[in-house]
Subunit: 557 residues, 2 copies
């Protein structure tokens, strides 16, 4: 643990402590190899992006040429596996509150050793406000990038490149999350970016977009009014309060105005007639939970209606929501979706993004990396290093979310070559490589999660055994166990945390966790006889339907 | 003073006392002669309408036929004045909080003596909720009327019939209020009714209208959230706090996000990026004034934006605001107007109504009075019995607005015959009978107000002298003095309280106040030689450019 940041401010209790203790092995990972930086500073949150290299062992597979031979002969294995050291590229994204920016910049400076870069791409209003601070602390020149350009660049990138990035949320459906398959033709769409305030942008092509509206009632309003009403300054605690509250105790509903006789009018009595209408005259105390819930409803409804109106005005039928407000919170998504459906009579669709908060940072990074042609590569989300959706879920145990509430992480690995669709596919965009969707089937999900939990001991043993010469193999294997176990628990509560849950994604997650602790393939010594079975489940890559020569250990459960 | 209402609830301090003392000579006037009732009960406020008859003295003028004679002969007066007892019709509207409904119904029951009506037209959601209570207390059958129908009927009525009903508000113009002349062709328009919540209605003709949207962020939200934040449950006090606050202490402005470098981006640094954004993290207390101001801004901005979007979506360029939220409050009107101008680029016009709060009650009353053909009459606002715009103005002395904050009054007198335009006018709709607009010219306004103040003693004396046989003339004249003096003070602070201020309206107000205390024409004995001077200023009626045979005392200053 490294103590960093501001000199002790001596604050206590509920107030925000501007000094913070950062665990370097969890936040700002791989900083020592960081090659390139970008930063997106909004009104409340900072999103830092950096590109680094990771040296790790990989298992290489070489196939033999069996043409003209009988492949059924089991004394001749169909391939050979060798473990090599390899350097791969990784994109890291870290979100934290602006309150901690000085502490974080200090931390970064202290841990930067090998970087050769001289500039940092910066976007968001804070790129102006914190320019001098960044230049002084990091000794990098701040290169300011246009806010809208970065936002849209980032949004287009995730929509095109990240599998299961966008989803619709339907409270009463099973499953509640419906992830969309990536589609090369994403335009036109409306982007509603909910940061401290709200920006509404019409996007027509990669380069043509226009700011068409905005609202001051955004995430900062939920946070700020929520803090005043409930006396907590923690965003996640506010969401947690909201998830336990009853808004009808504070809001004036249609049935409150009509006195229960609403059925005669064809009106739904549960519609909110006036947000906070009951607290105007009622002579009693209101619970923090109820006020937080009412506030979340009020803001989400308002954003939903504005989004719907702008979409209709500009003849757009898809609205994506960016920013760091929603965070996969069911109440928010349900309310926004309801509002859009209600006001558009179902003609406008609300789509949420798993990485809503990083659009500007991703865009700024891409701007800075343009000479490297980042679009020529494919990127896969690293499940081991990413917080996943609902990292602030109140259902997760408090210790798990204590830090993630302040810090949120996303890591993407650059794949060795661009992913392309299998040329033999008739309709690549409709092809889904996974035949079993565990988000559809709660029983199957529980079964498979239990399988992976029960198999964990064996995998740990196998990992240690695969590196007999290593002195710290047992220690690393134990860390792997803890990390993967936590991921499995997260997935029990939030099966949608990383998109659609499949046996393949459970295997990928295990592969990423094993790689994290330098176990490229504990099963490399397993006899080739197992290969046939493994192949049935799927390849190791995390993206699409690619046939690849790179086989991870993932399929070896 | 009559003590009425609920048995003492024993509440104290800041809490609302549901019992209330009603002064019968100020609120619910003329109840003993009430002939017909209508009531509009919203989520927070009740608006009661009743029609009564008023018996009072009027001055009648009979002209002599001077044809063929030399009218310059001063020994033959051109007309004769006689005072007669007359019964005229008056419409009363009273607004009070729903909290007091039981007390008010009890009061009405106790003071109803001569009514023969058996039904009460009721609209608003509360027509359902309070149906049994009203029927039990008043022994009248509740006849429920459709909310939208009443609202639109009332809006059309005031737009067509009340002079200077609608106005635009421009903060930096002189005058700030621009009253519109009545126009027979009022359609199509958008009505945004801001009650506890907001209803948005597209109105195409007298009978064709459609509810097209709504919002839960309305007057109840300002009141309810304001009460939670500032610990006052009084709407007027909230407005008062807001008028003294600095929203930039609580809101995150664009310049707060950009750190002052906003000029480089072509953005106005004073735009609100996030309402209440500063209270999210700042570790300090916020003043009640600042929070109230920020809240008022947030809600007004939001309503303005929604109004603008609905207007654009339905190709309407005029938006009228109804409900009891705005109340002529400058901050609210400025913010709504700014928001609509900003988001529509000036293509949509925000218009406010002096009687915004009574639309539903007026409509319900008209529904009930349909067999009497109310549209065949003309109605004139009685300035003596009406609160006027900004009755809750914080600039007025607290004692003056203490009751008006809870109760608001509007009275309209039925004129003897329909007003019609003078047939000789080339373009009646552009003809303005008053040549001196005192709202345009602050110096002239002050001059005239001082004139009327200084003349008051003389008018009081003249009034007493005009009724030598009356024992209570002196007492009534003193009451008149107090009432008219207060009106003049109100007009000093709020020159727009009753529409455009002219010498004629000052005279009309004095006439109404004199009539109130049964002084139909203190000047009836004044020699006819004065007639020529009086005629130059204007007739006695409060409406339009009518030539009339009814001459009030008004012109005799």
């Amino acid at each position: 643990m490294a103590e960093c940041g501001a000199s002790g401010s001596g604050s206590s209790g509920d107030s925000l402590d501007k000094s913070i203790t950062l665990p370097p092995d969890e936040i700002f990972r791989n900083l020592e190899n960081a090659k390139r930086f970008a930063i997106d500073i909004g009104g409340s949150l900072t999103k830092l992006a950096y590109y680094s290299t990771v040296q790790h062992k990989v298992a290489r597979v070489r196939s033999f040429d069996h043409s003209g031979k009988d492949t059924e002969q089991d004394h001749e294995p169909p391939y050979e596996i060798s473990v090599q050291e390899e350097v791969t590229a990784r994109l890291h994204f870290v979100k934290f509150e602006n309150t901690y920016i000085e502490a974080c910049l200090d931390f970064i400076k202290d841990h930067l050793v090998n970087t050769e870069t001289k500039v940092i791409q910066a976007t968001g209003g804070g790129a102006y406000k914190f320019k001098d601070l960044i230049e002084e602390k990091l000794q990098l020149k701040v290169d300011k990038e246009d806010v809208m350009t970065c936002l849209i660049k980032g949004c287009n990138f995730v929509l095109k490149n990240i599998p299961h990035e966008a989803f619709v949320y339907q409270k009463d459906s099973d499953p509640e999350f419906r992830f969309q398959t990536n589609h090369p033709n994403i335009f036109p769409y409306l982007l509603v970016n909910i940061g401290s305030g709200v920006s509404i942008v019409k996007v027509e092509t990669e380069d043509r977009f226009e700011w068409i509206g905005g609202s001051s009632i955004g995430g900062g309003t939920f946070w700020g009014l929520g803090a005043l009403l409930t006396k907590t300054k923690k965003f996640d605690e506010l969401l947690h309060l909201a998830s336990r509250g009853q808004h009808a105790n504070v809001d004036m509903l249609v049935q409150d105005v009509y006195g229960g006789a609403h059925q005669t009018l064809g009106l739904s009595g549960n519609l909110i007639a006036s947000s906070f209408g009951k607290s105007a005259t009622a002579d009693r105390e209101f619970s923090r939970e109820d006020m937080a819930k009412s506030l979340l409803h009020m803001i989400s409804n308002d954003i939903g209606q504005l989004a719907c109106l702008y979409a209709r005005l500009h003849c757009l039928d898809r609205v994506y929501f960016g920013g760091f407000f929603i965070r996969g919170h069911p109440v928010t998504m349900r309310t926004i979706t309801y509002s859009i459906n209600f006001f558009s009579k179902g003609e406008v669709q609300a789509l949420f993004l798993r990485h809503e908060g990083y659009l500007g940072a991703i865009g700024a990074f891409l701007k800075g990396a343009e000479q490297d042609n980042p679009n020529q590569y494919s990127w896969g989300e690293n499940y081991a290093g990413s917080s996943g959706l609902m990292s602030s879920s109140p259902e997760l145990c408090p210790t798990q979310r204590a830090r993630s509430g302040t810090f949120d992480l996303l890591e993407m690995d650059r794949l060795e070559r661009p992913l392309v669709n299998l040329p033999l596919l008739l309709d690549p965009s409709s092809y889904v490589p996974d035949t079993v969707d565990l988000t559809d089937d709660a029983l199957a999900r529980k079964y498979w999660l239990t399988c992976f939990e029960e198999a964990l001991d064996g995998v740990v043993k196998r990992a240690v055994a695969s590196q007999p010469g290593s002195v710290d193999a047992a220690e690393r294997a134990e860390k792997f166990r803890q990390k993967y176990w936590n991921k499995l628990q997260t997935l029990r509560h939030q099966p949608f945390a990383y998109g659609t849950l499949t046996v393949r994604s459970l295997l990928d997650t295990r592969e990423h966790c094993l790689n994290e602790f330098n176990f490229p393939d504990p099963y490399s010594k397993v006899s080739a006889a197992a290969w046939g079975r493994r192949g049935a489940v799927g390849g190791g890559g995390s993206l699409g339907a690619q046939p690849g020569d790179r086989l991870g250990p993932a399929a070896a459960w």
